[in-house]
Assembly symmetry: D2
Homo-oligomer: 360 residues x 4
């Protein structure tokens, strides 16, 4: 018998749609001992809330998240709101002993993130840094662990979109500091830093700058940094909403003594791999199609040669969470992991302010 888990989700925007989809789909692709119930959808705008509930089959709706986080019949609280609400909802849900899921970035600030991580420490929790579960990214992680890159020299994380230059987008909460905490930093750079921590381990120091192109905007449009990692490698990061020409180019490249890996979210079924141990005249970047056989999640989704899309990263995140839950294991990335990202974001901001290197 599968155990029922009742979910309350707060939020009705784009990302809430991606979460709803994951809740609906996870059981189709992952063999998890849970039956997820889409119990309550919570959102301030009644029309949006009702439309979304109808579309995705949420059993109930409500306007106020305070109504649901303490309800006895709710097992999971999923936070898909503007950043400003992450902490209050998460703290309340944790206080009520719920399993808590939260969108990234975890918080508006590092102290907030640390309080949240502490509050949720004894509870199963998850932060939707979904790109760790792109099969190509998970494969990169595995290959690095297997030593296929040898000693790491360079890490390069570049995340470009062009939203900042699009007047239709700049009216949203993502462009207001009091609701978002930051701009490209929380929105884009947090993803790049989470992947860097996942793939290349902790940073030891960094120097950074941020920049706002739009007049009158109070969040960063772009953030750039130089960094050293504890493993001896060095890195550059760049995240910008003014990367005209790219809609969602979240890339990394890692160079080591034995090889190189490269990834671009816009081609998420692909991983570039260069094996420096090959005969010199056959060495070249390979364009791996990461749909199996033998690739992460290739048994979950379709057959080799059949691609997946953006939404599958949420399904795989949720699938792994539920498997960890069933085995009483700690899931990653969790609030603690997301607080580590927030620590880096704070350092970026501090460095950009002081114009100095910051030790981590």
């Amino acid at each position: 018998m599968k155990k029922h888990l009742n979910i309350a989700m707060i939020g009705t925007g784009f990302i809430a749609k991606a979460h709803s989809n994951a809740f609906r789909q996870v059981g189709h692709f992952f063999d998890v001992p849970y039956e997820l119930e889409l119990k309550v959808l919570c959102g301030r705008n009644e029309a949006k809330r009702d439309a979304m509930a109808a579309q995705w089959g949420w059993a109930e709706t409500t306007a106020d998240w305070r109504d649901v986080v303490t309800r006895a019949d709710i097992d999971i609280v999923d936070i898909a709101t503007p950043n400003i609400l992450h902490a209050p909802i998460a703290m309340a849900a944790a206080a009520a002993g719920k399993i808590v899921f939260c969108e990234k970035p975890l918080a508006m600030s590092l102290p907030e993130a640390e309080r949240m991580a502490e509050a949720a420490a004894q509870l199963p929790n998850l932060v939707w840094f979904n790109y760790r579960r792109v099969p190509a990214v998970a494969l990169a992680k595995r290959m690095i662990k297997e030593g296929r890159l040898g000693d790491i020299y360079h890490y390069r994380g570049v995340y470009l979109n062009e939203s900042g230059n699009d007047p239709s987008k700049s009216a949203t909460w993502r462009y207001r500091r009091d609701e978002s905490g930051s701009g490209a930093m929380g929105d884009l750079l947090s993803h790049s830093l989470d992947l860097a921590l996942y793939l290349n381990g902790p940073l030891s120091e960094l120097t950074a700058m941020t920049h706002t192109f739009a007049a009158g905007r109070d969040v960063d449009d772009a953030a750039m940094l130089l960094a050293c990692f504890e493993n001896g490698s060095i890195g550059t990061f760049e995240a910008t909403r003014y990367g005209v020409g790219s809609r969602n180019r979240n890339t990394f490249e890692i160079h080591g003594s034995c090889g190189m890996l490269g990834f671009n979210l816009e081609e998420l079924n692909r991983l570039i791999y260069y094996d420096a141990t090959e005969a010199p005249n056959l060495r070249a970047a390979r364009n791996l199609m990461v749909t199996g056989p033998g690739h992460p999640y290739s048994e979950n989704f379709w057959k080799p040669g059949h691609t997946i899309g953006y939404e599958h990263t949420f399904i795989a995140t949720l699938g792994d969470f539920l498997l960890a839950l069933s085995r009483d294991e700690v899931f990653h990335p969790n609030f603690e992991d997301a607080a580590a990202v927030q620590r880096l974001l704070q350092a970026v901001e501090a460095s950009a302010g002081s114009r100095n290197w910051v030790r981590l």
Copy 2:
């Protein structure tokens, strides 16, 4: 109030999983006035059938398709079986007045396909030539219709996979003529031809060859043809299971007086477009990311910059079918369209046998 439609699906393999997913997902992405009920799953292997029913939420299961095609509470019969069973099931379902969905290729032979098309002519019906609904393909169709390519000169359809060379695959029904009717022809070439008919209109004549590489195999491993189209353009087609190096490279390229379009299923969020009306020094192939704005299905799935995968082609096919149904419109591709493909497959086989050009 949404109308309920009860589905019986025959088949429990890979493609039945893709269909199940479409049934589950269509309402999340398309605003259709139907509630789909996954009523009966039908398959000969009890363990497979039960596992799939559990995974995808089919309410009942049964071993014999004859049990379900006449059941009064079934509205849609969906055929996801080996080719040998397409005709008997479809004919029975049509006789019972059901809506009929059928996997491609429609039939084992042209006469069979024509009988099926005739039988289903008065009923809503669909053939899963799903690649018409890749957003990039639908965009290509729209651009051609808008005249962006001008007069068409060349059409090139190449579909490569490497399954024929994979011993683990060659034991399945797809490699036995009495269950499949053909090899690469029905499996791969049918897709290429359907896209050609969709994008470039009817062929007027063709010459073809087929070849079987594997000793003792009685289906074609590869089929190649030269063709003339009624619109004055000329074309080449190649479909093979011995295209070592490619898992699912279903490509087309179309050259016209005003431009060129190119597509590769392995990069299904992309469409190559060359605008020959540009200033000569700025003319170049563009690599369009077909995730919106303003692209087919971009309002249905995710936001611009967020990719979709293989399965969405089935969801979009089903979504369009249900919209057509609600408006009492004829849906394409239907049995009639699939019989047109079968007519071409027959011509290919005839030409390969006689080693002559065949008029269509």
Copy 3:
């Protein structure tokens, strides 16, 4: 002491410039025991002839090729004229005992080509099928010879340019049958066929069609064929001047039991290689940069990572010819090899006319 070889070149067009460059450059990149003297440039248009002689340092000029082919001080006669003049010049030069170089296609027809090959049989001779000496192509040849592709299944040769659709070009001799013998066939398809013969060996049979898009033009704009090779593989070829979107896309792809190779002249420093003997989860197309180390001609030109261009294919052809000459070895591709291509072109034309398969 290096031996002097005096050259007379007939022709003052684009390709004569590429030949002149090779004569000037070969000694800089190849260690050959010859000193080439650019002795006489021959062309009907005095102004063009004088300009070219001044630019490239031809010592003398003359209007009539008959003046030079029998001159005692001429060692090499190089034919860079419209096709109509290849045979008369080559026959005269051979009769005079000269070393003969000839642009491709060798002749206007197969009988002419055979006469030329016979006449030149006892003399060192060369046909400028220069693409055999693209380093990536030479590497492909070496890899095939080493058995890296295993048994060959498929060969695909596609050569696209868009010249036919360009009014500025269609006034030249290349678009008049009585001067060129054919259109895309001699111009483009001959290159594709020469590479196929070089890389994959003799064809055993073919069926073909040709097409002319432009009203009133008496040469083929496009030629397409299906073919069987003596090694058991099958192939498709397409050559067209209506491949809108491509300026010089001369490509081949070869699939075998152990791997795949792909080439595109527009990226001539690259070779695609797929090694099917790799572990399944690491199998992928590699994008080899063929500039060394260990690649053909990488010791001749620049250092690894430094690319070469179009002209180097002529230099390498000439370099290899001179090395063969110094060793008294037969050079390929020579008139005999080019007659083999002409045999295929004749078969293409015959098949296109009769609409039947042609045995070779």
Copy 4:
């Protein structure tokens, strides 16, 4: 009548070969009123010197550069030596009133560079920052000038090779500070910075780090920086000899309000262009083949569709220099321009040392 210019070249290595080639070839592709005479080749190693002189046709050779820089019959002194010798030779040549050509980086230090620039100020001079003359780069410059990118937001310059990790290379002067002045900085970063100055104008401030991976090596293996430009854009730069996987990946990307441009030296016939003023559903990166028509240098080299290679950048640099000389115009990049690069290199080193931002 063409004027004779006698050249003395100091150096016999790889780059001296590229220069020799340019001297030999420039008259074939550029209509310049000069006849270049390869008069004296100067190098310490007699065997290398003699071999090179024989191969490229240098009339005389000598061991000591002091012999030639004051010779009355020498017009141009070309410096292709290790960096340590640039200044003494250039100063002596300038003192003797010669035209001076110098390899990049101009000098071992900024003071040295400034002295050299001052000394050569009244004489025609050139620094071989050859990548400005890649046709794609020159096209980028033209497009930026035409305003096609609008206001510039981001500049990204990344130059990767893998030489540092190659034991066969690390024994050369390029890896010894007292002969080279720096490592990746002078070797690679100088190219990136020259292109940035050329394309995007002066920098206003920067912060940088350098790193040496190899134990016991006294030059930087990698240099990375964040920068602000005077035009309001911001940039990142990375240059490394530990970019395993790339042999010569010299790239830039520029994002502006109206579009984006991208370049990679490994594909030097290509320029990526994204036009943000297109209709949203047709906006995409275009892959321009920069071989004409209407592209820089396309009238000089081959016909559209026929690629050039590494060496042509030297030919075009020299061609433009000679044209400027004939018109009594100042050529760029000259010693002054190269000193500007050196100013940035010094700032990088200062910033890396102090770990502070440096104003320029």
